[in-house]
Each structure stands twice: as structure tokens, then as C-alpha cells.
């Protein structure tokens, strides 16, 4: 191969515009494939022409990188030793830094942190917030109130969210207390134990043969007559409650939760859950000391309740 001037020194490609034109041509070609054949053809021509020009320039070789400038000083004069010569710049003190270096470091860290925050915050919000927002309770239609015999208990199983019936099935103990001042009164006790949330069982016979299914807007509601003579008992750790849901014995920290209810067109509509500190009396004349819904195991009264000052939306 013929030696060209500058081959013995490192070479740098010359600044060139041809690759840019080539790239534009390729983009036009690809966009044209979707948009229009004319654009594609123009792109192909551009790419070919600029590609040819680029290739020709590469093939003709590069000019040599300029070597070190020839020494200005007379070749005979002895070089000035560094420690005697004048300093080009004041010596930096140990630990001293130039403002630009400091600025660049700060800018890099700052922009990095900003990018991190911009990416992390929405992701963390998406991971954590949906559980707290739009947690509206679903009203559940339990069917006509004439299905509930007066002063008799029923175990009622229903889907709190009919679109996810398989996972939102809940159970409540329902008793029709009869009329109070002309308004139907119900006692609706959640089966969720106030200890750690196991399902409490009725302390008495469940009449499985009399089980019936009521079809409502919320899907199938299962009703079984029951006689919880000994109140309600939790199978997990032995918490026990009386018929009004007051704690009698065992580890629970308060009584059983209850459901709000409504009578609409003669049908029993289940509302939100609330927690109960104490129930005095029984049936329709019971005095219920209500509080906001607490999770199982959380005290609702006394000094221990100060540990749970704020409840997330239920």
C-alpha cells in the first residue's frame, strides 16, 4: 500500500456534513414507507447521493493531524527549568477547587436528583395511594325485609362488590328487631373478630336445611337461620362475644363491628361498617356507643386508643 502523508501520525476524521444528509435520507425513506412512496423515493435518492459522497470522502483519506508546533525558541537556548520559569497560572491551593468544577458537580448531582424525584414520585404514588383513594363502601341489597322474621337471627352471606364476588364475600349476623317508633330496626353484626380478624361463629345451631338464596341487584345473598344462644365465638383464639357483640372473654380489644343499614322500598340495604365501644341494653332499644371503623386489634376506647388517632379511609 502506498504511503500517504500523515499515515504515521494519529488521524482524526474531518468534520463532515455528508453523514447528516445520509441520515436525513434514511429517515425520509422510512417515514415514506408509511406515508407516501414519493417521500420514500426522495429519501432513497438523498441517502444514495450523500452515502456516495461520504464514502468517497472516507476513501480519500484524512489530512494529518497537525503535529506539535515547532519550537519558537532558538534550538540552542537551554530550556527554562519549570521551577524557575514563570507559572502560567497560580498554583491551586490544596483542596481548592475552581468554581466551574464545583458548579458542574452540583449541576450533575442536582439534575440527577431531579430526574430521580420525577421518576420515583409518580411510581411510588401509584404503588401506595390507590389503596387510600376511592375506597367508597358498596351498598349491598340484602333483599326484602319480610324475609327476616322478627327477633330471629340469620347468617347472611353477600358480595360487597358484585364485580369481584369471589374475593369480597362477607358475612353478617342479622336480626330483625321489629318496629321502633314505626321504623324497622335491625341489628347487623359483622363476623370479623375484633382480635385479628378471623370469622366468628354463632354459638348455637345453624339451620342449614332452611338455608335460602335471595337474588338481589348485588347477586346471590345466602340466608341461614341461626340461634346464637351463647353469642359469637371465634375459632382462632377463643374470643367470645354476647348476642349484641360485646366482648365477654378472650383476646379481643373491643366488641364486634356493625353495619349501618337503610330500608329502601321495603328492602334492607347494607351500608358502611362502624366500630362499637359498648352496647347497653339489647335489640331495638340498645344504646350503641359508635366510633369510626377501626381495624381488628385496635383499641377504640381508653388510653390505648390514643395509639390509633388517625384511621385511613375505609
Amino acid at each position: 500500500m502506498e504511503e500517504r502523508p500523515g499515515d504515521d501520525r494519529p488521524q482524526l476524521p474531518q468534520p463532515s456534513l455528508w453523514p447528516v444528509g445520509f441520515a436525513v435520507g434514511i429517515v425520509c425513506l422510512l417515514v415514506g414507507l408509511i406515508v407516501s412512496w414519493w417521500v420514500a423515493a426522495a429519501g432513497a435518492v438523498l441517502a444514495l447521493v450523500f452515502g456516495f459522497l461520504w464514502a468517497r470522502e472516507v476513501a480519500t483519506g484524512h489530512p494529518a493531524v497537525p503535529g506539535p508546533p515547532p519550537d519558537e525558541a532558538a534550538p540552542d537556548a537551554a530550556p527554562v527549568p519549570a521551577h524557575r520559569g514563570e507559572a502560567a497560572m497560580p498554583e491551586p491551593q490544596p483542596g481548592e477547587r475552581f468554581p466551574r468544577s464545583r458548579f458542574l458537580e452540583g449541576a450533575t448531582l442536582g439534575i440527577g436528583a431531579l430526574i430521580g424525584v420525577v421518576v420515583t414520585l409518580p411510581a411510588a404514588g401509584f404503588a401506595l395511594l390507590p389503596g387510600f383513594l376511592k375506597q367508597k363502601a358498596h351498598k349491598v341489597d340484602l333483599g326484602p325485609i319480610k324475609d327476616f322474621e322478627e327477633n330471629k337471627w340469620q347468617v347472611v352471606t353477600f358480595a360487597r362488590d358484585p364485580t369481584h364476588a369471589d374475593i369480597t364475600r362477607r358475612t353478617a349476623f342479622v336480626r330483625n328487631n321489629g318496629l321502633l317508633d314505626g321504623v324497622p330496626s335491625f341489628t347487623i353484626i359483622s363476623n370479623r373478630c375484633a382480635h385479628v380478624g378471623c370469622p366468628v361463629q354463632p354459638g348455637g345451631p345453624v339451620f342449614q336445611k332452611e338455608e335460602k338464596t335471595v337474588k338481589t341487584a348485588n347477586g346471590d345473598v345466602l340466608m341461614t337461620p341461626v340461634l346464637p344462644a351463647a353469642g359469637f365465638i371465634c375459632p382462632c383464639h377463643g374470643g367470645s362475644y354476647d348476642q349484641e357483640g360485646n366482648r365477654i372473654a378472650g383476646p379481643p380489644v373491643r366488641g364486634l363491628d356493625r353495619y349501618e343499614f337503610d330500608i329502601v322500598d321495603g328492602r334492607l340495604i347494607l351500608g358502611d361498617l362502624y366500630s362499637v365501644v359498648k352496647v347497653e341494653g339489647s335489640g331495638k332499644t340498645a344504646k350503641i356507643e359508635k366510633v369510626e371503623l377501626h381495624g381488628p386489634g385496635q383499641h377504640a376506647d381508653g388510653p390505648e386508643s390514643w395509639l390509633y388517632p388517625l384511621q385511613p379511609p375505609h
Binding site: G131, H164, I167, T168, V196, C236, L307, P309, P312
Partner: protein
């Protein structure tokens, strides 16, 4: 003849070593692995010192079997249990891989506790290894959390109620408890998102954290060296009988500490 043979052997050796040399020159990985595997340990290490590697092996088994189970498991309330049944009863080898994952989880936890007990009884948590003890405790907590989140996944009655109870126990933590429980459930109640949430935590979030912590744990072990057992004749800081080289039992990594310099004067 012999010369020719050895020449050929040299050639073969060079050819065999070429890929390794290539890798070493570009990454330094071969030297790194060699450094990790052939580092010096005290002469009187015993079987007790293998509990940590055993725990790591159990973790790797969980990793591999878990990845395979994830190919067949469906984390939705309607399908989760039936897909686990499918894995166990219908798919070839499914019972084995699921069994390895299920029992391996217990093995992993038990080995973690045994390893922890060994470290405690050998006093291997003392200076300069306190930080590695702390990392180990974090590993224990994350490992237990891995067990908690994995327990829900078969989605049978045991899994469901155990998770209800576990989440509610979290909910009784002072002040933050109710919020912690809501974050774990992804809502006010266990709902359709809870299962996939636990699945994601179980197979992505916590294993990632575990791998990072294990990396840190191993780094500290390599940096600080393996502790000699308490019955070791070469008590840490003492000088062995031989003069050279200055072996420092308990802290055997070659370091800048000058030979013969004692950390503390003998009483």
C-alpha cells in the same frame, strides 16, 4: 519426542486458556473470581462455617424454583388456587418444583436462624463485623417478609385467613399500623388487588432487596475475612509461633498493617 509432546501440550493449554485470558484482560473477572474463591481463611474453620453458604444455596434454590413456578402460576383471585392445583397435579414435575419451593422456604428460614446462632455463639458479630451482623438481621427480616407474602399465593383457606391475621397484626402497630395494613392490602379490605400485590412483592420487590443485601453481606465477608472459632489457638490479634509470614487469624486479608504490630498490647 518428549519435547514435542510438551510443546503440543503447551499449545493446547494456551488454546484452552485463551478465552479465559481474553475475558481476564477485558474485565478482570477471572482474577476477581479467583480472589473470591481462593482467599485465605483461618486454618481451623469447621463445618459450622458452612451454614452461611448453605443459606445462600437455599436462597438460590428458591430463586430458580420460584422463577419456574411463575411460568405457570396465575395471580388472580379466580385462578390462583386452580393454577396451583394444576401445577401440583397435572403438570409434569410440578409437584416436585412446587415442593422444593414450599419446603425450601422453611429450609431457608431455618438455615438463616442456624447461621445467625453460629455467628452469635462464635462471637463473629464483634468488631469489625458489626455492620455485617446488621445486614444479616435485615436479611432475616426481608426473608421472613418473603415467607409472609408467599404464604398467600396458594390462595386456599389457610393462606387467606393467615394473611388476614398477619395484615391485621401489622395494623395494630401504634400510629402507622392502620396505614401499614392499608398499604399491604392495597385497600381497606383484602380485595382483588391484594393477591397480585403480594405476588409482585414476593417475586420482584423482596427478592431484589434480598439479592442486594446478600451482595453487601458477601462483600463484607470477603473484606473482613472469616472469623476463627472461639476455641482457636490463633486468637485474633495474637502472633503465631512462626515468624513469617505474619498470619493474622480472624483477619486474614492481606492488608497494609505492618507485620508484628499488635492492635492491643498483651495484658
Amino acid at each position: 519426542m518428549a519435547r514435542a509432546k510438551s510443546e503440543r501440550r503447551d499449545k493446547i493449554q494456551a488454546a484452552a486458556m485463551y478465552p479465559l485470558d481474553w475475558l481476564e484482560e477485558r474485565s478482570g473477572l477471572v482474577g476477581g473470581v479467583r480472589y473470591f474463591l481462593f482467599r485465605k481463611v483461618p486454618g481451623d474453620t469447621s463445618w459450622w462455617h458452612t451454614l452461611g453458604s448453605a443459606t445462600l444455596t437455599a436462597f438460590l434454590v428458591q430463586l430458580v424454583t420460584g422463577v419456574i413456578l411463575a411460568m405457570y402460576y396465575k395471580p388472580s383471585p379466580a385462578e390462583a388456587h386452580s393454577s396451583v392445583e394444576h401445577i401440583t397435579h397435572d403438570l409434569w414435575g410440578g409437584w416436585l418444583v412446587r415442593g422444593m419451593h414450599r419446603w425450601g422456604a422453611s429450609v431457608f428460614i431455618i438455615l438463616m436462624f442456624m447461621h445467625m446462632g453460629r455467628v452469635f455463639l462464635f462471637g463473629a458479630y464483634k468488631y469489625p463485623r458489626e455492620l455485617n451482623w446488621i445486614v444479616g438481621v435485615l436479611l432475616l427480616a426481608t426473608g421472613l417478609f418473603e415467607g409472609l407474602t408467599g404464604y398467600l399465593l396458594p390462595f386456599d383457606q389457610t393462606a387467606y385467613w393467615a394473611t388476614v391475621v398477619a395484615v391485621n397484626i401489622n395494623g395494630t402497630a401504634p400510629f402507622v399500623g392502620p396505614y401499614l395494613a392499608t398499604v399491604l392490602r392495597g385497600g381497606a379490605e383484602i380485595g382483588p388487588d391484594t393477591l397480585s400485590r403480594f405476588y409482585s412483592i414476593h417475586m420482584l420487590l423482596v427478592p431484589g432487596a434480598l439479592m442486594g443485601l446478600i451482595g453487601l453481606h458477601l462483600y463484607l465477608i470477603v473484606r473482613l475475612g472469616v472469623t476463627s472459632p472461639p476455641w482457636s489457638k490463633e486468637a485474633a490479634g495474637s502472633e503465631p509461633e512462626e515468624v513469617a509470614p505474619p498470619a493474622r487469624a480472624g483477619l486474614v486479608q492481606p492488608g497494609p498493617r505492618a507485620a508484628g504490630v499488635r492492635r492491643r498490647p498483651t495484658e
